[in-house]
């Protein structure tokens, strides 16, 4: 059975994804900044699912380290899931470059840096699956979160190009657009249940997408229609909306 690399493994979404794959006996590499917390999770996965799990320190913003991070993984992951991201604060970001930079690098540059390296390797091996958690916020920029949205738009475009370029090598790329998610990042927002996925629902959707080689998935079906509608509003009108 293949192994899964989780980039950004401390979030609730990552926890749920790791457990979902481990249940099916995939080995797991947990990559993230909080090594102490991840090593507790490693033990948890090993005891619950009798698989092999490892923890590797990974910092998405430390681009220079990405090459050696990937080279030194304890075993080869046939599946990579890129989960890290940073919602940030739109108002703060508009006035403060460091917040903007953090949002862009956490959602776009960092992901591109590491996935470039991994996709080269998968290309050589002529096999592998890469899944990226992007966002519906990247489908159209809105005043309430366009820094985050534009970084995710970049990531979505990147994944789409990567899918196109790797197809002929038998490497599959998946774009996941969760919509609202009940997580740490959103614990203080009031969210409409119809549009909000639990980490467990996202995990199931990701596993299904990997196994069925789906391309772009909206975890909650309503989002496909909502985004379709939002994207079809003429710009002359859209710019006046409070979104």
């Amino acid at each position: 059975m293949s192994a899964v690399l989780l980039l950004g493994a401390s979030s609730d979404m990552a926890t749920a994804i790791a457990r979902k794959f481990a249940q099916d006996k995939y080995d797991i590499i947990l990559a993230g900044r909080n090594v102490q917390q991840l090593s507790e999770f490693k033990t948890d996965l090993e005891i619950r699912y009798k698989i092999r799990a490892e923890v590797v320190k990974f910092d998405a913003l430390d681009f220079a380290s990405h090459e050696s991070f990937y080279k030194n993984l304890p075993f080869h992951p046939g599946i990579t899931i890129c989960i890290f991201g940073y919602l940030g604060d739109q108002q703060k970001a508009a006035a403060d470059w460091s917040e903007t930079e953090n949002i862009i690098q956490s959602n776009f540059t960092g992901a591109v840096s590491i996935l470039n390296i991994i996709s080269e390797d998968y290309k050589l091996k002529r096999s592998g699956v890469i899944a990226g958690i992007s966002s519906v916020a990247g489908e159209r920029g809105r005043q309430s979160n366009y820094i985050y949205g534009s970084a995710k738009a970049g990531f979505t475009a990147y994944l789409s190009g990567l899918r196109n370029s790797l197809h002929k090598y038998g490497v599959h790329v998946i774009t996941i657009l969760p919509g609202f998610v009940y997580t740490k990042m959103t614990a203080d927002l009031k969210l409409p249940p119809m549009l909000t996925a639990t980490p467990e629902q996202i995990a199931s959707a990701v596993k299904k997408a990997v196994q069925k080689k789906q391309n772009v998935i909206y975890v909650k079906w309503m989002w496909r229609w909502i985004m379709f509608t939002i994207k079809s509003i003429p710009e002359s009108f859209f710019k006046k909306l409070k979104l």
């Binding site: 609730d12 909080n34 507790e40 033990t43 948890d44 005891i47 619950r48 740490k184 614990a187 203080d188």
Partner: protein
């Protein structure tokens, strides 16, 4: 990050607006503990009343990692938010079982310790705390301390059954029980009245597990008619071929149905009436019936219907559970009579016996314990106050984990060590930072 939310525990009474927070690491927990003045831990909300509600409710459900499992010796350690159903999934296939389990597996290990839960085996194995090797706990000053029967014994004793008032339990290490199969060798006995039931409990006290369902509406002849269920973990050679083929330690299939919405309370009652009558009058059911069944229907019959608590309607319900010493059995009879005369309770009540236990604040003492549900209605609390008086008069007490309404003095009189308990709370939780709606109601922490 805090979110004002309306929450209620299993009885849907009372409903409270509170800030619910979650933590995934000790550091996060520490921030919440140091920034709040009035908080309580909450596991899976399976206590019935207000014990895990406060201004700030600290949910442990995201703190859910299994930390250690020694398969050779049956030693298990996990963070406090891990639930019993998750633990069973891991330990049963390896030939181990929970040393003590309540009647639902959807509770966290933190909640199990904080209520010092009892199972159908209390008369043999005691309450859960007897099997705890070590606890770690965050105190009100944010410090993590370890305690057990020998180390900081005062803290340990006040934490087991202490309803979260000493601190936040962060992890629990405990001893499992060895099993050969995941099946139970069950014996069901049809019992004609209460007198016979109490005799049968005595005659069968060597059974590891025992519990009875009593028909609470039956008056006069047949008062206390019931079904007594006895059980042992089945041995390998007791399984039939089909069971062996599935695997002696196979996990039961996960089947459950969802109770859809709040229904008027007679629906659930009718359901239990039917279930009981089926057991009682079914032609295949002679006086005694033996069977080898999976552990789920034996220990967790109600877990098959998720959200069955909605069956009591919008106003919610309280569960009334008391214990009365064996020598005062007329107290039990008096109360049961009052309950059946009034006709306000659930059709079924659960009766079992407790063995000796002399811990600081845990509920069990040697005697009979009875539990049943009462849908909330006008006049109910007055009626339950009357029952409390009888319980106290006969030297008994009320289970804190089920309570949502008792008066402070019922607690102080019923729990003989309550003074000592509060002095330990003062020592480890001096500003009573950890307090619940229940602890204020009972004047355990200042109001």
């Amino acid at each position: 990050m805090q979110m004002k939310k309306k929450i209620a525990n299993w009885g849907n009474y009372p409903v409270m607006e509170t800030n619910e927070v979650e933590f995934r690491s000790i550091n996060e927990l520490k921030q919440f503990v140091s920034s709040s003045t009035s908080a309580i831990a909450r596991g899976n909300g399976r206590c019935y009343g207000d014990a895990s509600l406060s201004d700030v409710t600290i949910s442990t459900l995201k703190f859910d990692k299994i930390l250690f499992f020694d398969k050779a010796n049956g030693i298990f350690e996990c963070q406090s938010g891990v639930t019993l159903d998750q633990i069973l999934d891991v330990i049963v296939p390896e030939g181990w079982f929970l040393p003590v389990t309540p009647g639902t597996k959807f509770v966290t290990i933190g909640g199990v310790v904080a209520s010092d839960v009892h199972g159908k085996n209390h008369h043999v194995d005691g309450a859960f705390s007897r099997h705890v090797i070590e606890l770690s706990l965050m105190l009100s000053n944010g410090e993590i301390v370890i305690c057990n029967k020998n180390k900081r014994a005062d803290l340990f004793e006040a934490t087991c059954g202490g309803m979260g008032l000493t601190g936040i339990i962060v992890s629990v290490e405990f001893q499992l029980k060895k099993i050969e199969t995941s099946y139970i060798n069950e014996k069901k006995i049809k019992v004609d009245d209460l007198e016979e039931l109490l005799e049968l409990f005595e005659a069968n006290k060597h059974y590891t597990y025992s519990v009875a369902w009593i028909d609470c509406l039956k008056k006069g002849k047949g008062f206390g008619r019931s079904v007594l269920m006895l059980g042992e973990h089945a041995k390998l050679n007791e399984l039939n071929d089909a069971q062996k083929a599935k695997g002696a330690l196979a996990l039961p299939k996960k089947k459950s149905i969802n109770f859809p919405i709040n229904l008027p309370s007679f629906v659930l009652n009718n359901f239990t009436v039917k279930l009981f009558n089926f057991l009682f009058y079914h032609k295949n059911f002679k006086k005694e019936k033996h069977s080898i069944i999976p552990y789920e229907p034996f220990f967790y019959p109600l877990d098959a219907i998720l959200h069955w608590n909605r069956g009591y309607g919008k106003k919610g319900f309280v569960q009334y559970q008391f214990v009365i010493p064996f020598e005062n059995k007329e107290g039990l009879i008096t109360i049961l009579k009052k309950i059946s005369d009034k006709g306000w309770g659930s059709f079924l009540a659960v009766l079992k016996t407790f063995g000796e236990q002399t811990d600081l604040i845990s509920f069990p003492i040697a005697g009979y314990t009875l539990a049943l549900d009462f849908p909330v209605r006008n006049g109910l609390f007055n009626f339950l106050d009357e029952l409390d008086e009888i319980v106290l008069q006969y030297g008994g007490r009320i289970y804190l984990s089920k309570d949502a309404r008792m008066k402070a003095n019922t607690f102080w009189k019923g729990y003989s060590n309550s003074k000592k308990f509060t002095s330990v709370i003062e020592k480890y939780n001096p500003q009573t930072k950890f307090q619940s709606v229940q602890s204020s109601r009972l004047s355990i922490t200042a109001q």
